[in-house]
């Protein structure tokens, strides 16, 4: 029976979080959590494989204790087992560090996996980096944007759409696949499933010590990037007023903003009116 790991992340529920002027940070604590939508697609892909050829589906997440919620929801949808890795020292990790911690947990707790499934990107940071970086940590082949997966024995065929090219790739297990947002539409959770997820659940929690990650290792594998500042995008809006004759205003407008428009449309709008040809 296939051994599948699905990596999921708990993300804040709202797209606009309240902004704390004083500390210059987002009030993340105010937002209820939910399974990152893209991760749900990955879980759906795993459950479809389970239904088709049989598989043991383990969901793995890294987060604060409250992240247990997403594991329960995944169990309710049909996953067999949940693992939460949680430690204050993991907080604030970028994708570089996160992929290391996840890889450590996998090597220790679920070493005999066949397939790792990840969502394409998260709705909060949207980097889409953890999947590929996790594959690097584990040194396994990986393919992103999977629309379709075909499994024969220990060979995986992935069909994917990349930059307007449709590719069919083949690789051997163990492998990692990130799943397209266009396919694998997640099923709704049944109420009986939710009830069961709390009655007979199968969730384990590990901190850094339990995973054998020393402070030294955390230091070495720590985040490579640092966020210096975060600010509301809307705060950047000016309100520039232009008046005059139509021709003059249009000229003025295009001179000032052609850069912005050109970049958006992918063509060039000359900065100054071209001379008489």
């Amino acid at each position: 029976m296939l051994n599948i790991i699905v990596c999921i992340k708990q993300v804040p529920r709202v797209t606009e979080l309240p902004w704390d002027e004083k500390s210059g940070t987002l009030r993340r604590d105010l937002a209820a959590g939910m399974i990152n939508p893209a991760c749900k697609h990955a879980l759906e892909a795993g459950l479809q494989i389970q239904e088709k050829i049989g598989a043991m589906v383990t969901v793995l997440t890294m987060g604060p204790p409250a992240a247990e919620e997403v594991l329960r929801e995944a169990l309710a949808m049909g996953a067999n087992r949940g693992i939460l890795i949680s430690d204050k020292r993991f907080a604030g990790s970028d994708t570089y560090a996160t992929s290391f911690f996840l890889a450590t947990a996998i090597k220790k707790e679920i070493p005999c996996y066949d397939l790792i499934l990840c969502g394409a990107y998260t709705s909060d940071s949207e980097t889409a980096q953890v999947g590929p970086q996790l594959a690097e940590e584990l040194q396994i082949p990986a393919a992103a944007y999977a629309e379709n997966m075909d499994i024969k024995g220990s060979t995986l065929r992935v069909r994917r759409l990349v930059d307007n090219f449709r590719e069919t790739l083949e690789m051997e297990f163990p492998a990692l696949v990130t799943v397209s947002m266009e396919k694998y539409l997640p099923r709704y959770t049944t109420l009986a499933g939710l009830e069961n997820a709390f009655v007979d659940s199968n969730i384990s929690t590990y901190d850094a010590d339990a995973l054998g990650i020393s402070d030294n290792a955390i230091g070495r594998q720590c985040s490579r990037t640092r966020v210096r500042k975060v600010y509301l995008r809307k705060a950047q809006k000016e309100n520039v007023i232009l008046t005059g004759t139509a021709a003059a205003v249009v000229s003025d407008f295009l001179n000032k903003y052609e850069n912005k428009i050109s970049a958006a449309i992918g063509k060039t709008i000359e900065e100054k009116e071209p001379g008489n040809d």
């Binding site: 919620e69 309710a76 709704y188 959770t189 049944t190 109420l191 009986a192």
Partner: protein, 383 residues
Amino acid sequence: MQYNPCMKHKLIRNSVRHFAETELEPVAAQIDRNATFPRNIIEKMRPLNYFGLQVPKKYGGADLDSISAAIVVEEISRVCAAVGLCVTVHNGVAIYPLLKFATQEQKETYLPKLASGEVLGAFSLTEANAGSDSGSVETTAVKNGNKYILNGTKIFVTNGGVCDLALIFALTGSGQKHPLSSVFIVESNYPGFLRGELEDLCGMRANPVSSLFFEDCPVPEGNLLGKSGEGMKIGLATLDNGRIGIAAQALGIAQGALEAAVKYAKERQQFKKPIASLQTIQNYIADMATEQTAARLLLYHACSLKDQGAPFGCEASMAKLYCSSVAAKTTSLAVQIHGGYGYSKEYNVERYFRDAKVTEIYEGTSEIQRMVIARSVLSQLIL
């Protein structure tokens, strides 16, 4: 009483909300306008156990606790009260009496199909001359061999237009003080079971409310629920439970209205600022939010009494009375806050307003609820 939503209740709320917002939200206004029952969405709800909320797992239900079940009804009603009504009536007053009073054989025959939603249930007590005065029921059930022959008319039956099964209250004899009534499990395919035209209502329009006519309708004696003459007992116990469901429905409507009002108040600018910055609007919102929290706690209190196996009828009445009045007030304020736009069908609040009103009327009017509560309080030896 502390209310801290446990993780399970949070997840249930989130998952039903997600379904309601994805499937019901896009069509809610249109099915209300055209008074059409969204059969295709009902079909999608069936595998999710929405029609077997508190049915034991062995019959295919979700076996949820009462707060969880209330949350399901709240979240559906928040988006589309008419469908929330379908779900709560099916679970709360069609399935519930079977769970409490049916024989093993009746349970095995009917519960699996009801829990899966293959069969939709209804409960009909009300008649033209018997509303609040439920003792004045005139429908009769006369024993004839191994059948009862049903004759009579039931009105305002929720789910009436689509139900496959209905619990019918009928007179089966005359007792010493009061006429005796009994409850029958009646399948819609029995001869003489006729549906009337759908009612054209102010709100809950997507719910197929209709009359049911029984003309010499033969019901097998095995479909008598409980014992002959237990009609009143079963009825009262059922309504106690039904009230929790309606309270949850009203609470959901109030929730939707409050959210719409808050969103609008933040966006709408008059006098060069959002109207949410005006004290009057803030007062309205404060009242709406406070009353809603109080209503929620009162409802969940009734739910937990029920789950503990304690008497919960008085608290259920309080919850129904209060939640429905909060819904009526909140939806009215929500329309007010939206100003002229609130009166237009372009926004949803006028639908919430129309939907809320009936929660003060059906399954026991607010006047009846007060009667129930007063009797309960006055009958206690020590308060």
